[in-house]
């Protein structure tokens, strides 16, 4: 079985985000990048399938700061092949990314066809679309999103997957392979890998860099302005030590007859 995992870097929102002087984009100066959290679940799902059934796992990620570390970490966890797609800067947009991958991936020897293409179901900067269904549409393979369990019957060319609905309800679906799945979760949190193993992977190298071919995407949506959200309201802030604020909250609860 062949599995392709798409990962991408997104701004780390633990850091303070600032708007650039153009008023329409993030100030890159203090921006740090981390891997889109859902993509880590996509990788884990691929590795679980590899552990269970045997598979070769190829990880593909657009070039971005820190992406090499993410790719080598994937290798240390068990990925077989690492591909970095250059010429598609972070923030290119889901539309342009999917369009470029749709022409770039088929040109990479041995990357496609894959039985499964897995990607995180959404990223925090997906303003103009979701990469997974856009790419599925372009590649002409079935797509299902918000998946959190995957089991494959390779002989039958089918997968059974669980999709999350609200309130703990799961839907069971049958998907014909090859297919593209947007991953929301996993039966287990992403595996831990010791730093020494990551260092060894970095030492061994082996990231293949591939230049993206430009795809044809619809005109992107235009960002006229970017700003911190105007809130309809803001919390009244309580100050003091943990004990002080706890007493204040208890006062508020008591005043409302909640204690």
């Amino acid at each position: 079985m062949k599995i392709l995992v798409l990962m991408k870097m997104v701004p780390d929102i633990v850091e303070e985000l600032e708007v650039a002087s153009d008023g329409r984009s993030l100030d890159q100066e203090y921006l740090r990048f981390i891997v889109n959290e859902r993509d880590e679940y996509a990788l884990e799902q691929a590795l679980l399938l590899k552990d269970g059934l045997g598979a070769t796992v190829t990880v593909v990620a657009p070039d971005a700061p820190e992406v090499d570390d993410v790719l080598y970490t994937a290798r240390a966890k068990g990925a077989d092949r690492l591909i970095k797609v250059t010429g598609l800067p972070a923030g290119s947009g889901a539309r342009a990314t999917a369009a470029a991958l749709a022409v770039t991936l088929p040109a990479i020897e041995g990357a496609l066809p894959a039985d499964l293409v897995l990607s995180g179901c959404q990223a925090i900067d997906d303003l103009d679309g979701f990469v997974a269904p856009l790419l599925a549409g372009a590649l002409g393979v079935p797509y299902l999103g918000l998946v959190s369990r995957v089991s494959v019957d390779a002989a039958a060319g089918k997968a059974q997957v669980m999709k999350e609905f609200a309130g703990g309800v799961m839907g069971r679906f049958e998907v014909s392979l090859p297919a593209l799945l947007g991953i929301q979760g996993c039966e287990k949190p992403p595996r831990y890998v010791p730093v020494a193993k990551v260092r060894a992977a970095i030492g061994a190298g082996g990231i293949e860099a591939v230049e993206a071919s430009a795809g044809t995407a619809v005109a992107p949506v235009e960002v006229a302005a970017l700003a911190k959200p105007e809130a309809a309201g803001h919390a009244e802030m309580l100050e003091g030590s943990a004990q002080d604020v706890a007493e204040k909250v208890a006062d508020i609860l008591a005043a409302r007859g909640l204690l």
């Binding site: 609200a166 069971r172 919390a235 909250v249």
Partner: protein, 324 residues
């Protein structure tokens, strides 16, 4: 933007979702502002009766097809794209819920139309529509324009009160044929309901919600103590569920439950839109977060910039003391 405004009605397990009525209320404003018709689109099989509650629309377009019975996005997106290609709407509003997720992802590809994601506000301005989208987990808002239609808009839950999208006389329902080829690659088999036995967090008056900011599993215990003192239960955000620190049925938000307790403490939760849509209507919300700019503080009534676990511990103590 000459075409009509469409709102894709979401019918799941036999009823129209609140997110549909919320988007319908927004659609009503946009259609009136643009001077066009507001049409609700309902896709299903033997589901025509559900159209009766969509009276805030000027009319309902109903597509009946066996392949649309289970709401599989592979098929609904094909039907909707075919219908849109034939009729040329200007805007297609789709509620951003797990039910409409796949339709939302696939429709822009099938229609070769732009998508405006994470839309939490839209206003008519200068003959067009200006959208506001929440990006980066709610930390930034983008003002967005999109060219000529059709434009697909992913409307965040809570964009308007659901009540504002209800009412009106039963609308005229036009049964239309969508000329699409069934994909067949995805088949719905069954729903699995959560195991009974755990607490139902939607029935609690007091909820202590924990997020990634509580740092480790041991601190869930501290939240349990506060919940016990209050007479409520512990719930959590996605990462806490992903880690297996709490079971899936304790999740609050888009993929979890929508809760309206009398008191909700959000401890170490950033306030991403996918979380806040599930708790923003709680009567009293207190948020504890180390980051003074965390989006949760725009939803909470009271905010505390402190270590989450320290505050939970102190609050449990204070509550126990008051209750004697």
């Amino acid at each position: 933007m000459a075409g009509n405004v469409w709102i894709v009605a979401e019918s799941w397990k036999g009823s129209i979702s609140d997110a549909t009525y919320e988007a319908l209320a927004l659609g009503r404003e946009l259609a009136d502002g643009l001077g066009v018709r507001l049409e609700a689109v309902l896709l299903g099989h033997g589901a025509r009766a559900a159209a009766a509650s969509l009276g805030r629309a000027d009319g309902v377009l109903y597509v009946d097809h066996p392949a649309l019975a289970d709401g599989v996005g592979e098929e609904t997106s094909r039907a909707l794209a075919a219908l849109a290609a034939a009729r040329g709407p200007g805007l297609i509003l789709v509620p951003t819920t797990n039910v409409s997720w796949d339709l939302l992802g696939l429709l822009p590809a099938r229609l070769e139309a732009p998508l405006v994601n994470f839309c939490r506000e839209a206003v008519v301005s200068g003959g067009g529509v200006e959208f506001t989208s929440l990006l980066y987990g709610g930390k930034m808002a983008a003002t967005v324009g999109a060219g000529a239609g059709p434009v697909v808009v992913a409307v965040l839950p809570g964009v308007r009160p659901a009540e504002a999208g209800k009412g009106g006389a039963a609308p005229a329902v036009e049964e239309v044929v969508a000329d699409f080829v069934v994909g067949g690659g995805v088949r719905w088999l069954e729903y699995e309901e959560p195991e009974a036995g755990d607490v139902d967090i939607t029935q609690q008056d007091f909820l202590v919600a924990v997020g990634r900011g509580i740092s480790n599993e041991a601190n869930v215990e501290v939240a349990e103590e506060l919940a016990a003192a209050l007479g409520g239960a512990v719930c959590g955000s996605r990462p806490v569920i992903d880690q297996g620190w709490l079971p899936l049925v304790r999740q609050v938000g888009k993929s979890g439950a929508t809760v309206k307790p009398r008191f909700y403490v959000a401890a170490g939760i950033s306030g991403a839109p996918e979380h806040t849509e599930g708790m923003k209507d709680a009567e009293l919300i207190v948020a504890v977060n180390m980051d003074p700019s965390a989006p949760i503080f725009s939803v909470a009534h009271y905010g505390i910039v402190e270590d989450a676990t320290d505050v939970l511990e102190a609050l449990a103590e204070a509550v126990r003391k008051r209750k004697g």
